[in-house]
């Protein structure tokens, strides 16, 4: 299935719902609910509450994140918010502030 890309100049204010993978290079404010994988690239800026299967953060995410599978905060990633996930990785260099709830599978 094709991969949705929110390009660098795009700004979305509202709600994104879907079941395909999503890559964000632009700005999204509001709410994201995805039955798939979310990738926030270096340039990406997300201010949203997020429900997703798994999320990889190279850019900036502000908001609460509920991941069914995994949260990965890469070395360039910045994340502020409370997270809930069974699996978590935070790389050296990453910035994180918030509550972590590692749910048992």
């Amino acid at each position: 299935m094709s991969n949705t890309v929110i390009g660098q100049t795009l700004v979305i204010d509202g709600e994104i719902v879907g079941d395909e993978s999503l890559t964000i290079l632009g700005t999204v404010k509001g709410r994201i609910e995805l039955n798939n994988k979310l990738l926030v690239e270096n340039e990406g800026n997300v201010e949203a509450d997020i429900i997703v299967d798994n999320i990889t953060v190279n850019g900036t995410v502000t908001g609460n994140v509920d991941a069914r599978e995994k949260i990965e905060i890469e070395s360039t990633g910045q994340m502020i918010g409370d997270i809930r996930t069974p699996k978590l990785s935070i790389k050296e260099g990453a910035i994180f502030k918030g509550q972590i709830d590692m749910v048992m599978e």
Partner: protein, 118 residues
């Protein structure tokens, strides 16, 4: 009005499995196969593919419609409504092409003053 350079290679793509409610703004070319409800303001070319369902007020430089679009559309250069399109609402643009087979209900105006800001 500043003349935008239209890029042929789209940088934004909204796939069939994605639904967006709210406002979407930007400077890059965008192809939509999914659903958008709300507002779209794009300083570039917007392509509405056959599977797309858009209910929005749209402001863009160029617009190509192959799918479903409902709303008020203001385009500064060219609207192309292709044969697979289903459109209802208002279209405002200096140039509008409607291909045979396209369904259109609503109002068309080809001569209008651009509002400030696009």
């Amino acid at each position: 009005m500043k003349k935008m350079v239209l890029t042929s290679k789209p940088e934004g793509f909204i796939g069939q499995g994605i639904e967006i409610k709210g406002s979407l703004t930007g400077d890059e070319a965008l192809i939509v196969e999914g659903k958008i409800t709300g507002e779209i303001s794009l300083n570039n070319h917007l392509t509405v593919q056959e599977t797309a369902e858009i209910k929005a007020n749209v402001e863009t430089v160029e617009l190509t419609i192959n799918g479903n679009l409902e709303g008020k559309v203001q385009v500064s250069e060219l609207i192309t409504v292709n044969s697979t399109a289903q459109v209802s609402g208002e279209l405002y643009a200096p140039r509008i092409i409607i291909e045979e087979g396209a369904r259109f209900n609503g109002h068309i105006e080809m001569d209008f003053e651009l509002p400030e800001g696009i």
